[in-house]
C-alpha cells in the first residue's frame, strides 16, 4: 500500500507531494501549472564513494574498483535490443545521467509524451544488460572522459585538495576512477553492484513540471517491480579529524592560476540542511563582497570577481571551500584565516547577517520557479534526509549565534588545505 503526503512551504505556500510507493521507491512530485516542460530524475544512493558494501545476507564486505558506479551509469544506457538514447529519440525527449560522489541519477526533460518517457526511464533503469563486449567497448569512451576531466584545472584543484584533506574517505577518489581501475571492471562486478544498489528501497524518483500526480503514480504502479529491502550497508574507513597535508601545488597548462582553500569540518550525521545552511551563511558572511577583507584583496589584485565560497558535503564528508583565480593564493588563505579569527573575537554584525540572510532567502525562492532546478532540489533534499522546502523555512530561523558557533567550532586553522593549480 502506497502512502501520500503533501509538503508545503510555510513561507511561499508552494507544495509538492511525497509518496512512499508500495514497491519501496520514494517518489516526489510537483505539478507546476503554466510550465511546458517536465524534468524527471530516477536516482539511487550510489556514487563514487560507495566502494565497500554488503547486504544483510552477505558475510563479508565487497570491495569494488574505483569508478564502477560511474561505469555502471554508462552501461545502463544499453538495453538488450537497442540503446536507451534511441528510445528517447523516438519521443524527442532529452535524456542523460550523472554520477556524483553519493548518487547516480538518470533523467529526461521533455515537453511532450512525458508519460511515455517516464515509462522508458523506469523501465531501462530496472533492466540492466551487461556483456563482455559492451563493457570492453566502454573502456575507450570512459578512458577519454577521464583524460578530459584530468585536463580540467577546476577538477584537478578539487581532487588535489580532497586528497590532502582526507586520509581514507573515498571522496578523494576521482568519480570516474582511473584508466587502470576501470580496466578491472567486468560484467559480473557490474551486476553485483547493480543488484546491491539499484534496489527501489535505495532509490528516489523526482518529477516536476507539466504533469499530473495521479498520472505519474499510475505509471509507477504499472512499471515498478516490488523489491524486498535487502538490508544494504555501506561502510567507510575510519577518517581521522585532521588533514593529510596543508598545501598542494600542481603546474598545469593554464592561463590563469586557480585555487581552492578548504576547511575540513566534521561530517553531518543529522539535520543536514541546517548544518549546510548555517555553513553557507557563515561563508557568505566571511566572503561578503562588502567586507573589508574582500575589498582589500580585490583592490590589491589578489582576487578577482571569480572569488566565492561553497559547501561541499555528503555521506561522511563536509568541507567549506573558498575558491577563485589568484596568483597569490597563500595571501587569500592567510586573509581568510585572519578574518575568521577577527569574527570569533568580535562577533557577528547582526545588520550584515540579516542582509546576507535576505539574499540567501531570495536565491532559494527563485529556484522554486524553475522546473529543472526544483526537480533536482527534491531528489537532493530527499536523499540527504530532508524536505525540499526546508531551505526556505530554515533560513529564516537561523541566527547570527548559529553562524558564529559554526565558525568557532569548524573553521580551525589546523584543518585548512590550500590547493593550487599554477601556470607552467
Amino acid at each position: 500500500m502506497s502512502t501520500r503526503e503533501i509538503i508545503t512551504c510555510k513561507r511561499t505556500g508552494d507544495t509538492c507531494v511525497y509518496v512512499k510507493h508500495k514497491s519501496g521507491l520514494d517518489i516526489l512530485i510537483r505539478e507546476m501549472p503554466g510550465f511546458s516542460s517536465v524534468y524527471a530524475l530516477f536516482g539511487t544512493k550510489y556514487g563514487s564513494i560507495n566502494t565497500t558494501f554488503k547486504l544483510a545476507a552477505d558475510k563479508e564486505y565487497t570491495e569494488v574498483p574505483n569508478g564502477i558506479a560511474h561505469f555502471l551509469e554508462h552501461k545502463l544506457f544499453e538495453n538488450e535490443d537497442c540503446g536507451v538514447f534511441e528510445l528517447f529519440a523516438r519521443t524527442g525527449a532529452q535524456c542523460n545521467a550523472y554520477t556524483s560522489f553519493d548518487k547516480t541519477c538518470y533523467l529526461f526533460s521533455c515537453t511532450k509524451n512525458y508519460t511515455e518517457n517516464l515509462r522508458i526511464l523506469l523501465d531501462f533503469v530496472q533492466k540492466p544488460y551487461f556483456t563482455k563486449e559492451n563493457v570492453d567497448k566502454e573502456q575507450g569512451i570512459i578512458g577519454q572522459e577521464i583524460r578530459m576531466t584530468n585536463d580540467n584545472p577546476e577538477w584537478r584543484v578539487l581532487f588535489n585538495m580532497l586528497r590532502c584533506m582526507y586520509h581514507a574517505h573515498p571522496v578523494q577518489i576521482d568519480i570516474a576512477g582511473t584508466e587502470e581501475s576501470i580496466a578491472k571492471i567486468d560484467a559480473d562486478l557490474l551486476y553485483k553492484c547493480y543488484d546491491t544498489f539499484y534496489n527501489l528501497n535505495n532509490m528516489t524518483l523526482s518529477i516536476a513540471g507539466n504533469i499530473s500526480v495521479d498520472e505519474v503514480l499510475a505509471i509507477c504502479d504499472e512499471m515498478l517491480r516490488p523489491c524486498a529491502d535487502k538490508g544494504l550497508e555501506t561502510v567507510f574507513p575510519d577518517e581521522p579529524a585532521d588533514i593529510v597535508q596543508a598545501e598542494i601545488r600542481e603546474k598545469q597548462p593554464v592561463g590563469a592560476s586557480i585555487f581552492q582553500m578548504g576547511y575540513k569540518c566534521a561530517p553531518c550525521k543529522e539535520n543536514f540542511f541546517k548544518k549546510e545552511m548555517t555553513a553557507t551563511l557563515a561563508m557568505s558572511y566571511i566572503s561578503d563582497a562588502s567586507s573589508d577583507m574582500y575589498l582589500k584583496l580585490l583592490s590589491e589584485g589578489i582576487i578577482n570577481n571569480t572569488f566565492g565560497g561553497e559547501i561541499f558535503a555528503g555521506d561522511g564528508f563536509f568541507s567549506a571551500i573558498f575558491s577563485g583565480e589568484s596568483e597569490s593564493p597563500e595571501k587569500v588563505r592567510d586573509a581568510i584565516a585572519a578574518e575568521v579569527r577577527r569574527i570569533i573575537a568580535e562577533g557577528i554584525d547582526e545588520r550584515v547577517f540579516s542582509r546576507i540572510k535576505k539574499a540567501l532567502y531570495g536565491g532559494y525562492v527563485r529556484q522554486l520557479n524553475n522546473v529543472t532546478a526544483f526537480a533536482s532540489i527534491m531528489i537532493n533534499a530527499h536523499m540527504a534526509g530532508c524536505k525540499p522546502f526546508d531551505p526556505v523555512d530554515i533560513v529564516s530561523e537561523l541566527t547570527a549565534a548559529d553562524a558564529l558557533e559554526f565558525i568557532r567550532n569548524e573553521l580551525t586553522e589546523d584543518k585548512i588545505v590550500l590547493s593550487v593549480i599554477e601556470k607552467m
Binding site: 523516438r90 515537453t111 575507450g140 525562492v365 522546473v371 607552467m424
Partner: protein, 415 residues
Amino acid sequence: MDHKRTELGENIGFTSFADKKFNTCFLCVYMITEMNKETVSDYAVANSITSTVNSRIRTIAAMNEQLSELYGAHLDSYANRRGDMQFLTLSGSWLSNRFAIEGEDITEKMLEIITDCLFEPLFDEDIFKLSKKNILDCIDAEFNDKREYTLKKARSIAFKGEPAENSSCGTRESAEAVTTDSAREAYKRLMETAQIEIMYVSPDDDPRVAELFRERFARVERRSKAYSFYAPSPLKPSPELLTEEFDVRQAKIALNFKYDSSDTDAMHLMCIILGGTPVSKLFMNVREKLSLCYYCACRMNEFKNTVVVDCGVEKANIEKAETEIIRQLDEIKNGNITDEELQSALLALENSYSSFGDTPGSYVSWYFDCICKNRYITPIEHMEELFAVTKERIVEAAKTVKLDSTYRMLNKEAE
C-alpha cells in the same frame, strides 16, 4: 504570455513579456556594435564598469549591500559576439515584489539601479583598474577550458582577417592598452551609436519600465544605425591546418566547414543529424561504434555560414577521427539519412522549442535571436517550417559543405 515590442527612439527597441507564473523579473539591455579589434577591449572594459558601480552607488561595497538587501538581486554584464558584431549586455534579475518579506518595492529599486548604471556610469580610476583586471583575467582564463580554447582557435583560423576572428573581450594586448579615457569615450560612443535592444520579463505588465527608458534615452544624442549580423565567410582556397602542442592529456580537434546554401532550415537539421544529439551520426559512430572519444559534436554558425565539429581524442587517433567525421558528413551528402534520423532530429528540436517560456532567459534569448536574424517568428512558427524540410533539401544543403580549416591541440606526452 503577452509579448510586445515598441521603438523607444532611434534604433532602440523595447520588448516586454508578462508571464504570471514567474516569481522573478529579468531585464537585459543589449548594445550592439561592429566588432573591431581597435575597440573591442575598450567596449568590454567599459561595459564591465556598468555592472559594478554607478554615479549614485559609488563603491563596490555599497552596491553589494544594496543588491543583497534586495533579496540577492543580480546585476551582471558581459561582452559577446555574433557574426561580425560585438554585443555588450547589462542585465539584472530580482525577486518579484510579492515575495518581499518586508514589503519593499524591489522592482522600483532595481530599475533605478540599472538605469543609473546604464546612463550614469562611474568611470572612477579605482573601479576602472578593477574592471580592466577582470577583463584581462577573463582573457587569460580562456585557456583554462581546453574545449572552449579549441573552439576559439578554430574560429580564429576560420575567420582570419574578418571581424569575427576577434574574441569577445579582445586580446591581452588590446585590453592592456585600454585607459580610463578610452573606456569612457568608448562608452559614450556606444550609447550614441549602438543598436539598443531592451528586454524585460516579469509576472505582470508594467508600462512604467518602457517609459523610464524612453525618458532616459531621450537625453542621449543618438546617431545610430541598425546592423546586419549576417557576414558570410569565404571558403579558403585549400583547407588550412593550425596545430599547437601543450602538456595536456587529451588531444582535441575542431574542423571548420563552410557552406554555400541559403536553406538555413535544412542546414540546421543537417547539423542535428550529423552531431546534435546522442543518436546523431557522429555520436553513434565516432563515439559508440569506434570508441574514439567521449564527445564529438557539431554546431552551426548561420551568421558566418559555418559548421564546426569538435572532438576530444587520443593523439594517435586524430586522423582516424577526422576521417570518420568527414565520412559521416559524406553519408549525408550521399543521401544516407534514415527516416528515424530525420524524425528524431525534428522531435529533438520540437522538444527544445516547446520549452520556450519556461525560464525568463528563454524569452530573451529567443527574441534576441530574432533581432539578429531580423526576422520575428515564434518557436511554433519556426517549428512548422522545420517540419516542412525534406530529406532532399538536407542533402542539397549538405552538398555545399566543404572543409575550410582544422585546429589540432596535441598532447606532448603522447610522443
